[in-house]
């Protein structure tokens, strides 16, 4: 067994392409998303509706505009203009100061700035809103150094068009899911198919090794690599994006293990159906990757799909895993709330292992 696992590692390490896919891809994917968003946040066009126009609001406006992230596209004078500007898509955010801002700050604190953000692009919306809040808070901190009694300025942030920010941080759960699927299912199915293609599988079957030992030997290296990969993606998403981790990390890692096992059993199942590496590759691509990307809710929200596709999405393991990740990371939910999804993944794993064992036996009989 030990020798088997060692040999499998050697296969992987010797193959530079595999290594590149294994470790290059997660980094590139996560960073791609990262850069796409940081580029967009430069010079974001915003509108300003300043109903007081006093020294405080002017100072804040100045500070926001000089940050380099925002460009004042429109100076507005009436709240009604806001809706119109959003509709035309000219601006992404509107900063609204109420009347008599500076006076109110001292007479009836706390005062608040209203922030309207176009959340149809949820990632950008969230970043814009966060940036603005940070800048305002920075302003308050600076002022408080001179006048410690200065009250805080509250921000009332409203997301227009997509108030729940659906799709925010969608890419991290999606990326983890796709990569784990790719590495676990595709790589195992290809590596088993390769043994068949080269004829080494026959020799393994003639040897005293039990079929389960052969499968475990093939699978264990990929379990480890997939797990390391999941950790890398989580680390990157936390550092590059500030992806929150509201729930239990242990639970998340355990769930990832479950999903990895699911994907591996799927990979083994695919390999029992294919005799060559090419077949395994094509089967994984069409049976796994495309549905995973298209139907799991990673890119297209499942709610917007036609009914037949919504039903079809239920048999996508990735859909359930994405729900689990989001529940844990974003909503901070515990096992109580995701036992149904967990059970579905567990049943899928059992199903694929059962099918593979059956196939394996048929081949030997």
């Amino acid at each position: 067994m030990k020798g088997f696992i060692l040999k499998e590692f050697l296969h992987i390490l010797r193959d530079k392409r595999t290594m590149l896919i294994l470790f290059g891809m997660p980094v590139v994917q996560v960073l791609l998303f990262g850069y796409a968003i940081t580029n967009e946040i430069k010079n974001a066009r915003i509108g300003i509706l300043d109903q007081s126009n006093d020294y405080v609001t002017q100072a804040i406006t100045q500070k926001i505009l000089s940050s380099g992230y925002f460009l004042a596209e429109e100076i507005m004078h009436h709240p009604d203009e806001a809706e119109d500007a959003f509709r035309k898509g000219k601006i992404k955010q509107i900063i609204i100061f109420g009347p008599d801002f500076a006076n109110m700050m001292t007479t009836s604190p706390p005062v608040s700035i209203q922030l309207l953000t176009d959340a149809s692009d949820p990632n950008t919306a969230n970043l814009l809103s966060n940036y603005t809040q940070a800048i305002v808070q920075d302003y308050v901190r600076q002022q408080q150094q001179q006048a410690p009694n200065l009250p805080v300025i509250q921000i009332e942030s409203t997301m227009q068009y997509n108030p729940e920010l659906k799709g925010v941080f969608m890419f991290v759960p999606g990326t983890i899911t796709i990569l784990l699927m790719l590495i676990s299912a595709m790589m195992t199915s290809i590596s088993i198919a390769r043994e068949k293609e080269l004829g080494t599988m026959e020799v393994l079957l003639v040897s005293p090794l039990k079929p389960y030992q052969i499968i475990l030997g093939k699978v264990i290296p990929y379990v480890l690599l997939s797990f390391i990969n999941a950790l890398i993606i989580l680390l990157l998403s936390a550092t590059v994006f500030g992806m929150p981790m509201n729930g239990s990390l242990v639970l998340l890692l355990l769930q990832s293990m479950l999903f990895i096992f699911m994907a591996l059993s799927l990979g083994i199942f695919i390999s029992t159906l294919s005799d060559s590496q090419q077949t395994a590759m094509l089967l994984s691509m069409f049976a796994l990757m495309l549905p995973t990307i298209l139907l799991s809710g990673f890119i297209f929200p499942i709610e917007n799909m036609p009914m037949p596709l919504q039903l079809l999405s239920n048999i996508m393991p990735s859909k359930w895993f994405i729900i689990i990740i989001k529940s844990i990371m974003l909503k901070g939910l515990g096992m109580m709330y995701i036992w149904k999804e967990t059970l579905i993944l567990l049943l899928m794993t059992v199903f694929f292992i059962g099918m593979s064992v059956k196939k394996f036996k048929v081949r030997l009989a």
């Binding site: 088997f4 040999k7 050697l10 193959d15 080269l198 080494t200 026959e202 020799v203 005293p208 030997l364």
Partner: protein, 250 residues
């Protein structure tokens, strides 16, 4: 319980293998003795691959009594597997591992301890005169060498029987000769060699030859005995005479 003749290493009685209504092996009976080079001949589709797979435990027979290396293939499959080596036409070595790593891996799956593997590797490479390529990746090695290495790897656990399924497919005549020298030297050490082949000149090298037609063994004797019986000049002629009588084979 029949007292197993210690000289008989493979004993096949009434072996039948059916795939649905198709009979791949129709009542095979034969014995193979220790140290023999047993040639297993037949046209494509005559059923020899099925038979070799059953003997190696890759497939289960429909019925029949079969003992390999003295063990029953139904009840003692593990013991059978420990005592046989197997090499197929496709060489069964890993192209992206070094020669040494291949030996190490195959020694490992037969449960050999690390020092034993090292000692066997050195010994086998020494016999081949290929010690200098121990750390070479298999991809960089010529085909003829790979094939000899595959044979050595099949012997790493000192099996009593080694099954060779068309081991010389696609290699040049000189390498084939050298390969048969290896087979001879293994047989002289008491290892039984069970070999299938398409080359009739190779059949001449075997101690005994069985020729399968349509799932049955039509002839089984030493090459000289067969030539005499069928009044033929060469094994090729014997084979053609027999194969023509079959329905399934051309």
């Amino acid at each position: 319980m029949e007292a197993a003749d210690s000289k008989t290493v493979i004993r096949v009685r009434n072996l039948v293998k059916k795939f649905g209504s198709f009979v791949a092996n129709d009542n095979l009976n034969f014995d193979v003795e220790k140290g023999e080079i047993f040639g297993f001949l037949g046209a494509n589709g005559a059923g020899k691959t099925t038979a070799i797979k059953i003997l190696c435990g890759l497939q289960k027979p429909t019925s029949g009594e079969i003992r390999v290396a003295g063990y029953d293939i139904y009840d003692q499959a593990d013991q059978v597997k420990k005592n046989i080596g197997y090499m197929s036409q496709r060489f069964s070595l890993y192209e992206d591992l070094t020669v040494g790593e291949n030996f190490q891996f195959y020694g490992g799956i037969y449960g050999l301890k690390a020092p034993v593997i090292r000692q066997r590797t050195t010994q086998l490479l020494d016999e081949l005169g290929l010690t200098h390529i121990k750390n070479k990746i298999l991809k960089e090695i010529p085909l003829g060498w790979k094939q000899k290495l595959a044979f050595s790897v099949a012997l790493i656990h000192n099996p009593r029987i080694v099954f060779l399924d068309e081991p010389t497919g696609g290699v040049d005549p000189l390498t084939r000769r050298q390969f048969w020298e290896m087979i001879y030297s293994a047989a002289q050490k008491g290892i039984t060699v069970f070999v299938t082949t398409h080359y009739m000149d190779e059949a001449e090298y075997c101690s005994r030859v069985s020729i399968m037609v349509d799932g049955r063994i039509e002839a089984l004797d030493s090459p000289s005995g067969l030539k005499k019986h069928y009044r033929a000049e060469s094994m090729n002629e014997v084979f053609v005479k027999l194969a023509r009588s079959g329905k399934n084979s051309r």
